[in-house]
């Protein structure tokens, strides 16, 4: 009698669990979405996003039209090259806007957007017999907000995640500081707070609309998610103003300005061979 009751309870329990968990599992299997993507509000198949997609790898792209936004950027190096002081201004404005600390010791360095040489930004491009302009001009590099971000995959706590508008963002309060994302990023876009970042800030002149970080967490460019949410342009784009050296917009909207620029110009991306599908394009 007792044994029978126990068996009954076992079966009842198993059935309840299956009833609760089963459909969710099946749904996930059918749509092919992982929980991380689902949580980031990334309902549709990631492959369906944007201009540069590997459609060959997915058999069902037809029923996954790009519905959401995918924010992207075009950096016009022709214009930046003409005014190097603008590059300085952009870097400074971004770092001031986001309370990015300045440490003289390179070991503690934190940067969101910075100037580097062409061959450092594009190490896979041939640099034999470079033209004068490429030698002379620097390139601005920042987080690429990849469509297939390796950092998001690597993060063991989902502290870095992809928003439904394509921005790869960070939760500074969840990050455990394992720095797996820094090893995973093929662009070296991530910085770590090796020490208290407030020691590298002038606390009388910080931007109170954006939080300072604590030590022991990773940070990087967030495409000004906090400004974009209010309908503003990212700070770097705003600084460029009418020069149009940086253009920001929705890559999934065929009528957007950025799509027009991409249509009219030959652009390159950093390390396309890494398969990350960057959302930052460069006009050389």
């Amino acid at each position: 009698m007792d044994k029978k009751r126990r068996d009954f309870l076992k079966i009842a329990g198993a059935t309840t669990l299956a009833g609760l968990g089963g459909p969710a599992v099946v749904e996930r299997l059918v749509t092919g979405t992982s929980p991380a993507q689902a949580r980031a509000g990334h309902g549709e198949h990631p492959v369906a996003h944007g201009a540069k997609t590997h459609t060959a790898a997915s058999g069902h792209e037809d029923n996954n039209a790009p519905t959401g936004r995918r924010l992207g950027m075009v950096v016009d190096l022709r214009k930046l090259r003409k005014q190097p002081e603008l590059m300085e201004k952009i870097v400074h404005a971004c770092h001031a806007e986001h309370n990015v600390p300045h440490f003289p010791n390179k070991k503690d360095e934190i940067k969101w957007i910075w100037r580097t040489k062409f061959e450092n930004a594009f190490p896979e491009h041939s640099d034999y017999y470079k033209d004068k302009l490429t030698i002379a001009g620097d390139v601005l590099v920042l987080c690429n907000h990849c469509d297939e971000p390796p950092c998001v995959k690597a993060c063991p706590t989902r502290a870095t995640f992809k928003n439904k508008d394509g921005i790869v963002a960070m939760d500074y309060h969840r990050c455990i500081g394992c720095r797996f994302c820094m090893a995973a990023c093929p662009y070296g876009s991530r910085s770590f707070n090796w020490r208290d970042p407030r020691a590298g800030l002038d606390m009388n002149h910080i931007n109170h609309r954006f939080p300072t970080r604590m030590r022991g967490v990773v940070e990087k460019c967030n495409f000004c998610a906090e400004r974009v949410g209010l309908g503003k342009q990212p700070k770097c784009v705003e600084v460029c103003g009418s020069t149009k050296a940086m253009i920001f917009g929705d890559l999934n909207d065929p009528d957007s300005e950025i799509r027009q620029v991409l249509k009219d110009n030959f652009t390159i991306q950093r390390k396309p061979s890494a398969g990350t599908h960057p959302s930052v394009f460069y006009i050389v």
């Binding site: 992982s34 929980p35 991380a36 390179k106 070991k107 503690d108 360095e109 934190i110 940067k111 580097t116 061959e119 450092n120 930004a121 190490p123 590099v141 390796p150 995959k153 690597a154 993060c155 063991p156 706590t157 989902r158 502290a159 969840r174 990050c175 455990i176 500081g177 394992c178 720095r179 797996f180 820094m182 090893a183 995973a184 990023c185 093929p186 662009y187 070296g188 910085s191 770590f192 707070n193 090796w194 020490r195 208290d196 604590m214 030590r215 022991g216 967490v217 990773v218 390390k271 890494a274 398969g275 990350t276």
Partner: protein, 390 residues
């Protein structure tokens, strides 16, 4: 059985006090690091993992190496390993404790450690590493303890324990495979992006783990009157030899792929590790001495384990050969593999890494902690063996 660890001669207590000193220094250094941040280490934006993660990677191998004793003894019923197998299981326990400690001291926000479980991300390899490392630790504690208890009572171990013993074999392989996957699945890190990383890790683990066991067994023979038997040591030497040669074969394949394909990304790190990498007129080579020592000690170790006289007739030379191989493999995986992978950085710049004193003392303290636990576990195991004999 713990009471066996509380009785010992003065050398036992001196050894524990010696290790305890290093642990105390490390605790002090860790408090400093905890209060200031990881800026007290030599790590930087470009070399974002240092001594801690490289020691972790090597010690996962030492832990996995114990399976080279468990497998012949339990699966193939190789009786000569009867007395030595418990050494392998207990070594795995202390190596895993070191691994987990190295992970914790490497975290920027250790108080948030449980986020790995609370906000688990099943696409992250670190998630699986956490599962297999803790699983393997649990299995070794369980199997070691149950089997030792049965031995003490002079009865056969309960049948159910064999399920866990057999389960521990794939777990041993998995801990090092998943640890390799932390590295070999990352785009843009050419040196790590190689399918041979996991097999290479396993090969070096199956040499390094048993090599340490041979050395410890030879020491125990002298100081604790505990002889695992000549046959066991000789068989173990064979295993170490083949595993070490396999590791070197894999290293050679990496060289071939890099230099024959002539793909710059593949060549850079190998060049940096073994010859020095020239960049903007400056040659960066701070790891070259370590890597050359790795090759040299490998040759010495293999020679000592291959020549019949040094291997069979003399405990000293057998021990020296195993020590040489252990250090050699430590240089390869515990220094070169992890640190080298960050050079050059994704922007083709070079930053060299030098650990700070604070960092080195923390690492030394964790090693001391591992040997402290190992000493106590071996003391218990040998105490039980002596009790049965008496």
């Amino acid at each position: 059985m713990f009471e066996k660890a509380l009785k010992g001669n003065k050398y036992y207590w001196m050894w524990l006090a010696f290790l305890g000193t290093f642990m105390a220094i490390a605790a002090f250094c860790y408090v400093r690091q905890f209060n200031y941040g990881l800026g007290l280490t030599g790590m930087s934006r470009d070399v974002s993992w240092g001594l801690y993660i490289s020691q972790f990677t090597f010690l996962v191998g030492v832990a996995a190496g114990g399976v080279m004793l468990v497998l012949p003894y339990y699966v193939h019923n190789y009786k000569a390993f009867g007395r030595i197998t418990i050494l392998g299981e207990f070594l795995a326990i202390s190596a895993l404790l070191m691994c987990l400690s190295f992970i914790v001291v490497d975290l920027g926000q250790p108080m948030r450690m449980l986020n790995v479980i609370l906000h688990a991300q099943p696409r992250s390899m670190l998630f699986y590493d956490m599962i297999v490392l803790n699983g393997y630790l649990f299995l070794n504690i369980l199997c070691g303890w149950v089997i030792l208890t049965a031995e003490r009572k002079e009865v056969k171990p309960p049948k159910w324990i064999y399920f866990f013993v057999y389960l521990s074999i794939p777990f041993a392989v998995s801990i090092h495979t998943v640890t390799a996957m932390l590295y070999c699945g990352l785009p843009g890190r050419h040196f790590w992006l190689s399918a041979i990383v996991a097999p290479r890790f396993l090969a070096s683990a199956f040499a390094a783990g048993p090599a340490l066991i041979v050395v410890v067994a030879l020491i125990l023979k002298r100081v604790a009157n505990f002889d695992v038997g000549k046959k066991a040591l000789d068989k173990l030497a064979t295993i170490i030899l083949y595993a070490a040669l396999t590791n070197m074969f894999f290293v050679g394949l990496e060289f071939f792929v890099a230099y024959y394909s002539n793909i710059p990304g593949h060549i850079h790190t190998i060049e940096y590790l073994f010859f020095g990498l020239e960049h903007d007129g400056h040659v960066y080579n701070n790891l070259v001495p370590f890597m050359r020592m790795f090759v040299l000690l490998f040759v010495v170790g293999v020679a000592l384990l291959s020549i019949p006289y040094t291997r069979r007739q003399s405990d000293f030379w057998l021990g020296a050969g195993c020590t040489a191989l252990f250090i050699s493999l430590w240089l390869d995986k515990g220094i070169g593999f992890v640190l080298g992978g960050f050079v050059p950085n994704p922007l083709n710049e070079i930053t060299e890494y030098y650990p700070t004193a604070n960092e080195i003392f923390i690492a030394l303290g964790i090693w001391a902690m591992g040997f402290f636990v190992l000493t106590i576990l071996y003391k218990i195991a040998i105490g039980v063996e002596h009790e049965i004999e008496a």
